[in-house]
């Protein structure tokens, strides 16, 4: 069996290639704009660049939104692949099937974050009337495009190297308690999680751009371990089942999607103010309220399973 003949993979790669082609077409205009843009003049070339800018914006906006949706389709495709890859019970087995999987997943998450930042910068640029952020916006697009080309390269490497005959290891062997960060125990990890969450709320409320950036990065890191090693066992109701991916499956009512999406959105809005300020030197503080909202939703979902378990059983796992 060839992995490239699976429906999900065909659809995924086909859409990915179309989006990259659209981005490369836009890149031709982006280079022209970066080279010749001068908003203060009213020459024929400048007006044609302004028109081209609208076209490019529309294409890039479309491709970015598709790329973000495609990320979730990628996760779904990996979930489907777990039925094909021997030994894989969920995405953990498929992702860990070769050396490229985890790098690819992290790269994809990073790209989705960057695409989100680009959308915000683009919005600010259009609202500015005089397109004052057009150059940093398109330089940033070039950086993202470079990452996307790199991502394609990794995707090919990853899919080519997924073994379909040799069994892979899955959650039970991939994730062990001794990999907890800073030598934390499960209960200490949960306490750290709630303390860091409190700080994200405080810094977001106080609109501290740098501190919020740092604490949200730390929160993302701690949350990954907390969900995997603490909260997930209350979702699975199995003390040894520590997997960040099985919660994405139907058996657990796809709750993993709500958990990870709310975490990513919360962290995204928490860190984006700092990145935007670094990129275009503009202070944006109205995104912190979304960070507070999504981080709180994330924590509430996670906490819900622990509380329900305790109410039902009178003990913690």
């Amino acid at each position: 069996m060839n992995i490239f003949l699976l429906n999900d993979i065909i659809v995924f790669i086909f859409i990915e290639v179309i989006l990259v082609i659209l981005m490369l077409i836009s890149e031709y205009s982006v280079i022209k704009i970066l080279k010749n843009w001068n908003f203060s003049i009213t020459t024929s070339l400048q007006y044609s660049l302004e028109k081209r800018n609208y076209l490019v914006n529309t294409i890039i906006n479309f491709t970015i939104i598709c790329k973000i949706i495609l990320f979730f389709f990628f996760i779904k495709s990996l979930s489907e692949l777990s039925n094909v890859v021997p030994g894989a019970m969920c995405i953990a087995g498929v992702i860990g099937a070769n050396d490229y999987g985890e790098v690819l997943l992290l790269l994809k998450i990073f790209i989705v974050f960057m695409l989100g930042i680009w959308l915000i910068v683009n919005r600010l640029d259009i609202k500015s009337k005089k397109f004052i952020y057009i150059k940093p916006k398109y330089f940033f697009f070039n950086f993202i495009l470079f990452l996307i080309l790199f991502e394609i390269f990794f995707e090919v490497l990853y899919f080519v190297n997924v073994p379909l005959k040799v069994p892979v290891f899955c959650c039970s062997t991939l994730f062990k308690a001794d990999t907890l960060p800073f030598g934390l125990t499960q209960s200490n990890l949960a306490i750290t999680f709630y303390i860091i969450f409190s700080f994200t709320l405080i810094f977001s409320y106080l609109k501290k751009i740098v501190l919020s950036f740092l604490i949200n990065i730390l929160f993302l890191f701690i949350s990954y371990f907390s969900v995997t090693y603490f909260f997930s066992i209350y979702i699975y109701i199995l003390p040894n089942h520590q997997c960040p991916f099985c919660i994405l499956q139907k058996e657990y009512f796809y709750v993993g999607y709500f958990i990870w999406i709310s975490l990513f959105l919360g962290v995204f809005f928490g860190i984006s103010s700092y990145i935007i300020e670094s990129l275009i030197n503009k202070k944006i503080t109205n995104l912190f309220k979304y960070s507070i909202l999504f981080n709180t939703i994330f924590v509430l979902i996670c906490t819900y399973f622990v509380v329900i378990y305790y109410i039902k059983n009178g003990v913690f796992l």
Binding site: F39, T42, T43, S44, Q46, Y47, K51, I126, K129, K130
Partner: protein, 222 residues
Amino acid sequence: MTKITNLYKIYNENKQNEFTALNNINLEIQEAQTIIIRGKSGSGKSTLLSIIAGLCKPTSGDIIIENENIAKLPDINISNFRNEKIGFIFQSFNLISGLNTFENVMAPLVLKKIDKNQLEKQVTQALKIANIEHKKEQKVENLSGGEKQRCAIARALVMNPSIILADEPTANLDKSNSLIFIEMLKKFKELKKTVIVATHDSLFDNLEFVDRYIDIKDAKIE
């Protein structure tokens, strides 16, 4: 004031079928002036009005209206600018069929979040100025040519714009309705509106209240 400098509009630039619609237009229009732009079909009158209204972009040059170069405004801003500052009367009226006169005139106000009483007041006032209030409940497809014209005028006036543009406003009207429209132009002048009419209708020749006639020939001002 409206100031147009070194304005060019070239369709299909650098292609075999390249066509210059406006060639180095320079123009200054003071506030509350009534201007008639005359010229044969294809001379560039409508293109000039469309560019002033921000409906299309020039190939090069400046169009400064109330200190804003509208050719440089992003699409979203140009739409707001047009909505607030410019009333456009089209040759074929461009009314929304299926809606009645009142609803058509109300259309530009929908984008503005104003309360119902204010909205009704503004629409009624515009209908009164255009002398079409008595037909406010009537579907626009059932109006006569002259009535459609007056409905279009009311719609152009409803936002209380400082500039009114009319592109061949009498092309679809008989003589008596055309004369009614010319009378309406006097009213606009009393209301201190800047009015720019593009026409090739000889009824507009030698009108005493017109401040200036501009003749366009082969994409240039003569």
